[in-house]
């Protein structure tokens, strides 16, 4: 508890690097900005790993339970004696794990970008934004106060906006950045209302206090929040669902997922860092952080489960039809996060019942590595081929052997093939679902099959498929890119063997997971079926995929057009919001508000026109007024002044 003082440097170092690179980066020669950013992040990673080591292995446990430590806390803004926004650092099992994940993936992305973004004129700006993002994300995961997490939430949103819109000359990038920011901001409205409700009932903004007070069934605040109800749901349900809405926006859950595919307009390392491994899991992290409260309220958990499952399935369907590499990976991310969400939703609290919680965070851990690996390989491929579309690629196994190997490892992991990491985490999720909610289990297994199908569709289309493709104008893959790929591939290989449940569990008490081999047979079999189907359809060039697509006709078209959700949003925005609210508001602003002001001005002008005749320039008129004034004064003085 007392020697975690260096943990303050973990978020502060990237902030410092953001300021330095941001202010002075233009003058740095060559890639110095990038090298500086990477070195800072190396330091941060070492600090994070040391914190994790200390916490998990040395002195995090007391009485066998992982403690909730707060090495730093300072009172920033006090609204009233009990209610204040404190800025602090919380160290517990999930925040220590997230520190490691975020800093490692960020470090790999920094290293990868040294080669990927070489020659980019705004190189230093890119690295300053990356540092800003890292600072925000690290601040988010160690937040001790719900308002602090909201502040860093918004900071992360800003960094995402800046990075998606990095190539600001492209109108599509600008539109994508705006879309991401607006959708997440809209979700954050729900988040804010949820925060305010929780703070109102709990009387504090501190995570510990909120959870302690509201979880205790007999405390007056807890009774108040569960008895106050609106439209048939208790205030606690509303608060938690609203907070979850904020998380759903950031994690691209249905129906707030529309920004994630468009966010692929940003540079690929950014997609790897933000929209695969770290920012999009912020929603999952939030639910995990508030999990003791969520588990207290079944209605909220049901909402989480439902949304998670629906997102997972929907995204899997859409990913089967897309042809842009990054879009496939984006939908795959949405699908995997859906897994994490419903894993949290089906979880109980305490010991073995909390398997879903552990499984969800385990999947977060492994997903970060293999998804960022997938994106970075995609980045290498895009860098090589100068195009995003699968139709321009093929036979890259011969041309990019190292990338091919890493991509294959990542694909096997995401498909859930043992002994790669994805298998272990997905198994835990599915077994948690099997225990608590059979329907969700079925959907999960089906989605797993679809996952392996579309991932291997991608793999075969990119690396095999066209036997005699030749690349005349390809780029050279730098050794730093290769290093990052290999490092992540190594992690993907070993991270499955981490005994996660001995570190992270819903109530801090470590437990051992039983190996249910029999249960794993079905998903693995489905995964292999998926791989085989993809092999038959895509290993060689053939027209079978198109024929299948055409035979599905309208269904295929609907899925390809992402279920027309974007069009629905545009319809609502344009026809209803713009016409219904925007235009009247603009009319009122222009004619009533401005009109009132203009009216006042016109009135003044008219009045002034009336009386300006006094200054006519006619001498005789002036003399008449003068005489009138004198006569009036005389009368006044003589007759009225006593």
């Amino acid at each position: 508890m007392n020697n975690y003082e260096y943990s303050i440097y973990i978020p502060l170092l990237p902030l410092l690097s953001f300021l330095i690179i941001g202010l002075f980066g233009k003058k740095f020669p060559g890639r110095l900005a990038g090298i500086l950013g990477t070195l800072v992040l190396l330091a941060v990673t070492l600090f994070s790993m040391y914190v994790a080591y200390e916490y998990f292995f040395v002195n995090g446990k007391q009485g066998g339970i992982y403690q909730h430590l707060v090495p730093y806390k300072f009172n920033w803004l006090a609204f009233s004696p009990g209610l204040s926004i404190d800025m602090g650092i919380t160290l517990d099992a999930i925040s220590a794990m997230m520190l490691v994940v975020v800093s490692l993936v960020s470090l790999m992305v920094h290293v990868f970008s040294l080669d990927y973004m070489k020659g980019e004129p705004r190189f230093s700006v890119y690295y300053s934004f990356l540092s800003l993002f890292t600072f925000s994300m690290l601040g988010l995961v160690v937040a001790s106060n719900i308002f602090q997490i909201y502040i860093f939430w918004e900071l992360v949103g800003i960094s995402s906006y800046l990075l998606i819109g990095f190539y600001y000359e492209k109108p599509s990038a600008v539109a994508a950045a705006k879309k991401a920011f607006i959708v997440t901001r809209f979700a954050d409205l729900g988040f804010l209302i949820g925060i305010l409700m929780l703070a109102f009932y709990a009387g504090s903004l501190d995570f510990e206090t909120i959870m302690k007070v509201l979880r205790d069934g007999s405390s007056p605040q807890s009774i108040a929040i569960t008895s106050a109800s609106f439209l048939g749901f208790s205030a606690l349900t509303w608060a938690l669902v609203l907070v979850f809405a904020g998380g759903a926006g950031k994690s691209a859950m249905f129906p707030l997922h529309i920004w994630l595919p468009d966010a692929m307009e940003g540079p690929t390392p950014v997609s790897a860092l933000i929209h695969a491994a770290t920012m999009v899991v912020a929603g999952v992290y939030l639910v995990a952080r508030l999990f003791p409260l969520f588990s207290f309220n079944n209605a909220a958990l049901e909402v989480v489960t439902f949304i998670g499952t629906l997102s997972a399935l929907l995204a899997a369907f859409i990913a089967c039809t897309q042809t842009d590499i990054k879009r496939v990976l984006a939908y795959s991310t949405m699908s995997q996060i859906g897994y994490m969400m419903f894993a949290l939703g089906v979880s109980g609290y305490g010991g073995e019942h909390g398997l879903g919680y552990t499984a969800s965070l385990f999947h977060l851990f492994t997903h970060a590595f293999f998804k960022s690996l997938l994106f970075l390989c995609a980045g290498a491929v895009i860098h090589f081929v100068h195009s995003n579309d699968m139709k321009d690629m093929g036979r890259l196994a011969k041309w990019m052997p190292l990338t091919h190997l890493c991509f294959l490892i990542a694909c096997l992991s995401i498909a859930g093939v043992p002994p790669f990491s994805g298998f272990f985490s997905k198994e835990e999720i599915l077994s948690a679902a099997y225990e608590h909610h059979k329907f969700v289990y079925v959907v999960g297994v089906l989605t797993a099959g679809l996952t392996s199908f579309y991932m291997f569709r991608l793999y075969f289309s990119v690396f095999w498929n066209k036997p005699d493709k030749v690349y005349d104008h390809h780029a050279h893959t730098g050794w730093m890119m290769k290093f990052a790929l290999v490092f992540l591939a190594g992690f993907t290989g070993v991270s499955g063997f981490v005994p996660f449940s001995t570190f992270i569990s819903s109530d801090g008490v470590p437990f051992a997971t039983a190996n249910k081999w029999m249960q794993s047979l079905l998903p693995v079999a489905l995964a292999i079926t998926g791989i085989a189907t993809a092999y038959f359809l895509y290993f060689r060039e053939s027209s079978t995929p198109e024929k299948i697509a055409q035979s599905f006709g309208g269904i295929y078209r609907t899925i390809y057009r992402k279920f027309y959700i974007d069009e629905l949003y545009l319809f609502v925005t344009r026809k209803i919001i713009f016409n219904g609210f925007g235009r009247p508001a603009a009319w009122i602003d222009k004619h009533v508000v401005d009109g009132a002001m203009n009216g006042v001005a016109k009135l003044t002008a008219r009045f002034s026109n009336l009386i300006k005749g006094f200054q006519s320039g006619q001498l005789q008129t002036y003399v008449m007024y003068f005489f009138a004034g004198v006569a009036g004064l005389t009368l006044l003085i003589i007759y009225l002044w006593k």
């Binding site: 008449m624 009138a628 006569a631 009368l635």
Partner: protein
């Protein structure tokens, strides 16, 4: 009704009639002449009050100087024969109203006031008295106002010359191509 009373009423009526004619006449030259008669009438009033010196000064300065000056300026500025424009009827009505009201107000105040004479006796206004007081520096001496007025007259003389002076024409540069250089006539003095 002594002769002097009759004389007084006659001169007063003359003054007022001439004054009225001066302000309402349509021809400007006639207006100037009516003014002249009015001023001479006022001189007559002064004579009646036995202030002969003042009356003489009135005739010499006012009638002989100012009215002549006015007549010269009439000749300088316009054709003396044309009729003056009639002012707007609104203006006439308002002015009559204002005048009558003002007159009523003033005269009621004056009429009610009992002007009581402090001391009686004739006013000794002989010329040598006037002269010695004018240049006297004692208690009733007017030497200082006399000097000040002379400076005022000097200033007025110089001022008139300066204001009414025609400055010589200035040739504008760059306009010689037009054949005749354009002359700019300035009325204000550039010091």
């Amino acid at each position: 009704m002594s002769a002097s009373s009759i004389f007084f009423y006659f001169v007063s009526a003359f003054i007022l009639a001439m004054g009225l004619l001066a302000v309402t006449s349509k021809k400007i030259f006639r207006s100037a002449i009516w003014l002249l008669f009015c001023l001479v009438g006022i001189a007559g009033l002064f004579f009646w009050m036995q202030l002969q010196f003042l009356a003489a000064v009135q005739i010499v300065v006012y009638a002989g100087g100012i009215v002549v000056l006015i007549i010269f300026s009439i000749f300088l500025t316009q054709k003396a024969g044309t009729d003056l424009p009639k002012p707007a009827t609104r203006r006439i009505i308002f002015s009559i109203l204002a005048t009558l009201l003002g007159f009523a107000l003033t005269y009621t105040i004056i009429a009610r006031h009992p002007f009581s004479a402090r001391d009686t006796g004739p006013l000794n206004a002989r010329v040598n008295e006037i002269g010695s007081q004018m240049l006297g520096t004692g208690r009733d001496g007017y030497a200082l106002p006399f000097e000040v007025v002379s400076i005022l007259l000097l200033a007025a003389m110089i001022g008139c010359i300066v204001i009414a002076m025609k400055t010589p024409a200035i040739n504008l540069p760059g306009r010689e191509k037009k054949g005749e250089p354009e002359k700019l006539e300035t009325n204000s003095m550039t010091v």
